[in-house]
């Protein structure tokens, strides 16, 4: 996290806010709810309180305006800049302005979720500047929809606001709030990945609500929030693979599978696992990869694996088999899998097993950092 130069902050913890006008994109009650919830995000973890007033000057004046809107920082029309807010100070300090040329939404439909945009802007209103933690609310890029009723402020933002105002002393020790989520670190030696796949020459490593992109031209793994690329996809995915037949990427979570064509989710998905021919008793796929040589996809489920014929779109007979039978030296469950340069890589805990499918030999045991250079 970071604060503004000279760390401006409010000298009182009892702040007022006023909604000066409304966007026609949403009902007034939806705007009221979104703004109140966005302020509560910060109130939950600090001693700050927010009281709404309906006339006169409030510490935080909330308004919607387009292009030049009276503060010498004009907006830029649709997309681009969504909103801005001013650091604590008298007058315009603390005020939050939303670009009326955007389409603001209450839910997760197309457009920008007002709750998420407002929660970010109110961080500025409290004195926080932008964070370069991609998982932080104060990261400058719009991060997609989150449910205002269940949203938990990430650890980086909690640290930021508490560095200015301290913690919330009113938290009930018998009912502590949910633990703030942290952003996974590619350099963490204990990191256990959720899923790995290729996507048009790049490698994608999934963990929680994030994924890292690695391509051959870049020496660093670029971390992203899943929802900024695919708003329809769930977090905490189970498995992923890229089909060598149609170059779609399939993402698995629970009993559902999504198909991606580049950065678009293919219409008609998610589908059930049984649509792939997996038995209806299968509730979750742990890992999957496409084998270029045999043109089969292998699905890992508990301690077994299935073989799927991509060309015929059917499961092969004679499966499931024990993982150790097809991959000698690999026992138990597999967390993620993919192929790279002819080798098969199976991920178990913080380790990666380099395996040759042809010779059925295990060559090396590596760390995640072998792929996620950090």
């Amino acid at each position: 996290f970071s604060t503004f130069q000279n760390s401006p902050k409010w000298q009182t913890n009892q702040l007022t806010y006023r909604i000066v006008n409304y966007t026609p994109d949403m009902s007034a009650s939806e705007v009221d709810f979104s703004i109140e919830k966005a302020l509560q995000v910060w109130a939950k973890v600090s001693p700050l309180t927010f009281t709404r007033i309906y006339s006169g000057n409030a510490d935080i004046m909330v308004s919607f305006g387009g292009r030049e809107h009276g503060d010498f920082y004009p907006f830029d029309g649709p997309d681009g800049t969504l909103a801005h807010a001013f650091a604590p100070s008298p007058g315009i300090g603390g005020d939050a302005h939303f670009d009326e040329d955007e389409t603001f939404t209450f839910g997760s439909s197309r457009g920008y979720n007002l709750f998420m945009v407002a929660a970010h802007e109110f961080g500025h209103s409290m004195g926080l500047s932008h964070s370069n933690d991609v998982g932080a609310l104060m990261y400058p890029i719009y991060q997609g929809y989150n449910d205002p009723n269940t949203y938990v402020l990430p650890r980086d933002d909690v640290n930021g606001i508490q560095s200015l105002y301290g913690p919330n002393s009113d938290v009930n020790p018998d009912k502590p709030d949910p633990k703030p989520p942290t952003t996974p670190d590619a350099c963490d030696p204990t990191l256990v990945l959720d899923a790995v796949t290729t996507l048009r020459g790049e490698q994608m490593f999934f963990k929680d609500r994030f994924f890292w992109r690695v391509n051959s031209q870049s020496s660093t793994a670029q971390q992203n929030v899943i929802k900024t690329y695919w708003p329809e996809l769930p977090d905490n995915v189970d498995a992923a693979y890229e089909s060598g037949e149609n170059y779609n990427v399939y993402i698995f979570k629970g009993s559902q599978v999504w198909a991606l064509s580049g950065y678009d989710v293919i219409r008609g998905y998610p589908k059930s696992l049984s649509s792939l021919g997996l038995p209806r008793t299968v509730r979750k796929v742990d890992a999957a990869f496409y084998d270029e040589q045999s043109r089969k996809t292998f699905f890992f489920i508990d301690e077994n694996y299935y073989s799927y014929d991509e060309a015929r779109k059917t499961m092969d007979d004679g499966f499931p088999k024990r993982i150790g039978d097809g991959f000698p030296g690999i026992g138990g469950k597999v967390a993620a899998a993919f192929q790279n340069q002819g080798y098969t890589y199976l991920f178990k805990g913080p380790y990666v097993y380099e395996f040759s499918l042809r010779s059925k030999r295990l060559y090396r045991v590596l760390r995640n950092s072998y792929f996620l250079t950090c």
């Binding site: 970071s2 969504l82 670009d99 370069n132 031209q217």
Partner: protein, 78 residues
């Protein structure tokens, strides 16, 4: 793969972005060369902030990041 040079449109967008969020200053005439260096520095600063590969040039990843919807407050403290 072939590396594509940024288009004129990309250059304009980048200058506008860097002025707005990274305090890039307008430099003309004899100072134009300093301006090129300043832009290299500002692009590098932006790439460091977003943990992109630091090239100082308007590569695909950098342009992709500049085109994402975002907050209007500068990334560098004013």
């Amino acid at each position: 793969v072939p590396l594509l040079s940024p288009t004129e449109e990309d250059e304009t967008l980048a200058d506008s972005y860097l002025k707005r969020f990274y305090n890039l200053t307008e430099q003309v005439g004899s100072k134009a060369r300093n301006g090129l260096f300043e832009r290299y520095e500002k692009v590098s600063e932006m790439q460091r902030f977003f943990r992109l590969k630091v090239t100082g040039t308007l590569d695909h990843e950098t342009m992709h990041m500049m085109k994402k919807p975002r907050c209007g407050v500068p990334d560098v403290a004013a």
